[in-house]
């Protein structure tokens, strides 16, 4: 039986266990004079039976699916004759793919050595028996678990508490899953990064001022010497992020001030959702807005002013990214400003301060740490932003501070390095992971600082 069919079957069994458990707990309650004499409500007994039915079965199913492939592979490879035993990891995977291709019929059994064909048929056999065994085992566990739990329903058992405990563990497991995924991502990036630093020295990567990842394929190839200095990319990222923040911080902050201090509830009800709609625009739409509308406008304007501007410029990408981040800044600042107690506003107004004096001298200083935290989060968002810069900033790794020139960013280079057919052990591809690691470290640091700042601020009013 396929695992896809097993899951609905388990669900059905769980429902049955629930229904039977409910019925049994009610039946037990009748001679005692009603469900109020049970330690817990029938729902909890039923839920407990359902959990005992479903959870162990699902757990076993997951484990089986997780280890099945590996175990079968080991068995198949181990049964190969001695002369075919792989001596390296690369060869092993080659033989395995050959075997599985034969087994799935993609490769004819006639063109491979008979030992391989034999292994293929063994693989098919093992897979089939594994599935049968798995289905039987899982169903047995579900039925057995449900039955035992059903039998153990007794009026004196506090099923409510046990249900609560199990539920708490499930929630914990879900939270743990998210963390484990993050850890997994970090490790996969770290290992590739270490491989990259085996090919390119870390000092060249961190301090090199030239970026040109085309490595030579032939020894006599021209113009593809390969340079992996990340400084131009990092400077490009910072330049664009800085432009974005110059746009987003004042506009976002002032709109937050307007919304929280000046706007009537009706105005607020209209403007706030509209502003937050900006956050809902897909970044790719911002990207072509930047590339097709803003960038030509800027180069035209620059030409009219007698300045040299390239068709793709840091300014265009930065401006549009700034617009994208406005709702981020305004929404966070709005929350922080609203969190400043009304009593402080009253105190200031009662002393004869105007609204703007109150804002400037009391509310803003009180909210500043929170606003700083919001801005730092927005910066890490700007640094990691990809789509707009891919479309509007360009690919040329210029080390420049001139916003009218084309620059490239860390994210853009990661995209271009990994798009298309690539060999996964060349310095060029591995560089993408090193860049990813760099981004990760920078944004992580910013987030940690931001969270720290925000937390410090929270303590003030608690």
């Amino acid at each position: 039986m396929q695992p896809a069919n097993l899951i609905p079957l388990i669900v059905v069994l769980v429902v049955i266990a629930f229904a039977l458990g409910y019925a049994r707990s009610r039946a037990l309650a009748v001679p005692m004079g009603g469900i109020k004499h049970l330690k817990s409500l029938p729902f909890y007994y039923a839920a407990r039976a359902a959990m005992w039915c479903g959870l162990p079965a699902l757990l076993v199913l997951a484990c089986w699916l997780g280890f099945e492939g590996k175990v079968i592979q080991t068995l198949v490879v181990g049964s190969l004759p001695a002369e075919l035993q792989p001596d390296s990891a690369g060869k092993a995977s080659l033989i395995l793919s050959q075997i599985s291709n034969v087994a799935s019929g993609a490769l004819s059994a006639d063109v491979v050595p008979p030992a391989i064909a034999e292994a293929a048929s063994r693989l098919t056999g093992l897979q089939q028996s594994s599935q049968t065994m798995m289905a039987l085992l899982v169903i047995c566990i579900a039925v057995l678990g449900g039955f035992v739990a059903w039998l153990r329903i007794a009026p004196h058992i506090n099923a409510r508490e046990k249900f609560e405990t199990t539920l708490r563990r499930i929630f914990f497991a879900c939270a743990g899953l998210a963390i484990l995924t993050t850890v997994g991502i970090v490790f996969s990036v770290i290992f590739e990064t270490i491989r990259f630093f085996g090919k390119v020295p870390i000092t060249e990567f961190l301090f090199g001022t030239s970026w040109s990842p085309q490595t030579a394929i032939r020894a006599d190839q021209v113009g593809a010497e390969g340079a992996f200095g990340m400084i131009p990319l990092f400077v490009g990222t910072l330049l664009i992020s800085a432009i974005a923040m110059v746009v987003a911080v004042p506009v976002g902050l002032m709109s937050a001030i307007y919304l929280s201090e000046y706007a009537s509830p009706r105005m607020r009800g209209i403007i706030k959702p509209l502003l937050e709609m900006l956050a809902g625009v897909p970044t790719v739409v911002y990207g072509f807005f930047a590339a097709l509308t803003v960038a030509p406008f800027i180069s035209g304007l620059a030409a009219a002013l007698g300045l040299q501007a390239s068709a793709e410029s840091a300014l265009a990408a930065g401006l549009v990214m700034g617009i994208m981040i406005i709702p981020f800044v305004s929404s966070l600042s709005d929350d922080v400003i609203n969190a400043v107690p009304q009593s402080l506003r009253d105190g200031s107004l009662a002393l004869g301060a105007t609204q703007s004096e109150t804002m400037k001298k009391v509310i803003f200083p009180a909210a500043l740490p929170g606003i700083m935290g919001g801005i730092l989060l927005a910066v890490s968002r700007a640094i990691g932003e990809t789509m707009i810069v891919v479309m509007a900033a360009g690919l040329a790794a210029n080390l420049t501070a001139n916003p009218l020139e084309a620059v490239t960013t860390v994210t853009v280079q990661i995209v271009t390095l990994l798009v298309g057919d690539q060999e996964f052990d060349s310095a060029k591809t591995l560089a993408a992971f090193a860049l990813g690691m760099l981004l990760f470290v920078v944004t992580l640091a910013l987030n940690v600082i931001a969270l720290h700042v925000v937390r410090k601020y929270r303590e003030q009013y608690d």
Binding site: S343, R345, D346, A350, G352, E357, A366
Partner: protein, 297 residues
């Protein structure tokens, strides 16, 4: 034995109370009735600082203040008392237009400070609030240093030309608020680190630093312990020499201790205004009597 007696008598009172109350209302209907805009006692004064006539306040559709007329004399301490929700705080907040920030709040009637209309559209609210300061229920020092809290008002109104003048104002205000000796060595410390009573006296110092003519106090001691309350009450007595003070309070003992006149509000009506000792010894209105004897409120 005595405990037993007490418990029996309490039980009896509780059992009898529901029967008594309606009977009492039926016996004296004319005395508990409130006529719109009518106040017994002495609501008017010759030398009025505030002259308030037929004041009505609405929150949206509901009327919070119903035709209140009252004079507040120069340099008097007047206490507003009454059960919760009777409108005394709302009325107080009309006097420096703090209700302006509430969108649905409308104020009608004639409100004059020294003969000038408070609600004249051309009137500068900033100037009004500099003349009529306010102390709130909960101490609300700014999250700044003690010095900056007191200097806040003088700075925005440009009361000091030099740092030394500002220092003098701060010291003077803190002395008047009886706080100078406690804080003179730590003026740069954050005000939020002070005790509740100190914070409230700091708020009073902050208010008098702009030399107002009137100080409004909205239950200034409700968040304070008895010792801090006693200190604030002492301070009110001292301040009454140079300021007109209007204090809203839930504590009748406090009203009796600090005020010259007492005004009793009931459901948005100003029921009775009289000299404080008269209100608490021989109230004219039945409702006032019920309130001060603890029948309700």
């Amino acid at each position: 034995m005595s405990t037993l007696n007490t418990s029996i008598s309490t039980e009896q009172t509780q059992r009898e109370a529901p029967e008594l109350a309606p009977a009492a209302v039926q016996d004296k209907p004319e005395e508990t009735a409130i006529e719109y805009g009518q106040t017994v006692g002495t609501p008017f004064a010759d030398d009025a600082k505030f002259r308030l006539r037929d004041v009505e306040v609405y929150y949206g559709e509901s009327q919070a203040i119903k035709g209140v007329s009252l004079d507040i004399a120069r340099n008097e301490v007047i206490a507003f008392i009454g059960p919760s929700g009777c409108g005394k705080s709302t009325f107080l907040r009309c006097l420096n237009r703090m209700n302006d920030s509430i969108d649905i709040c409308r104020v009608k009637g004639s409100l004059e400070l020294d003969g000038q209309d408070l609600y004249d559209p051309r009137r500068d609210v900033v100037e009004l609030r500099a003349r009529v300061g306010m102390v709130f229920q909960k101490p609300n020092p700014f999250p700044k240093s003690i010095y900056d809290n007191v200097a806040y008002g003088p700075r925005i109104h440009g009361l000091a030309n030099r740092k030394s003048e500002l220092d003098d104002i701060v010291e003077d205000s803190l002395r008047k608020a009886g706080l100078w000796n406690e804080v003179k060595d730590r003026l740069d410390a954050p005000a939020t680190g002070m005790s509740g009573g100190q914070q409230q006296r700091l708020c009073i110092a902050r208010t008098i630093a702009v030399s107002p003519e009137v100080v409004l106090m909205d239950e200034p001691c409700s968040a304070l312990d008895p010792i801090a309350t006693a200190k604030v009450e002492e301070l009110i007595a001292e301040l009454s020499e140079s300021y007109t003070i209007i204090i809203v309070t839930h504590s009748m003992q406090q009203a009796a201790r600090v005020s010259h006149r007492t005004a009793y509000f009931h459901l948005g009506n100003l029921v009775e205004v009289n000299a404080t000792d008269k209100v608490f010894t021989a109230p004219e209105h039945k409702l006032t009597e019920s309130y001060i004897t603890g029948r309700f409120g």
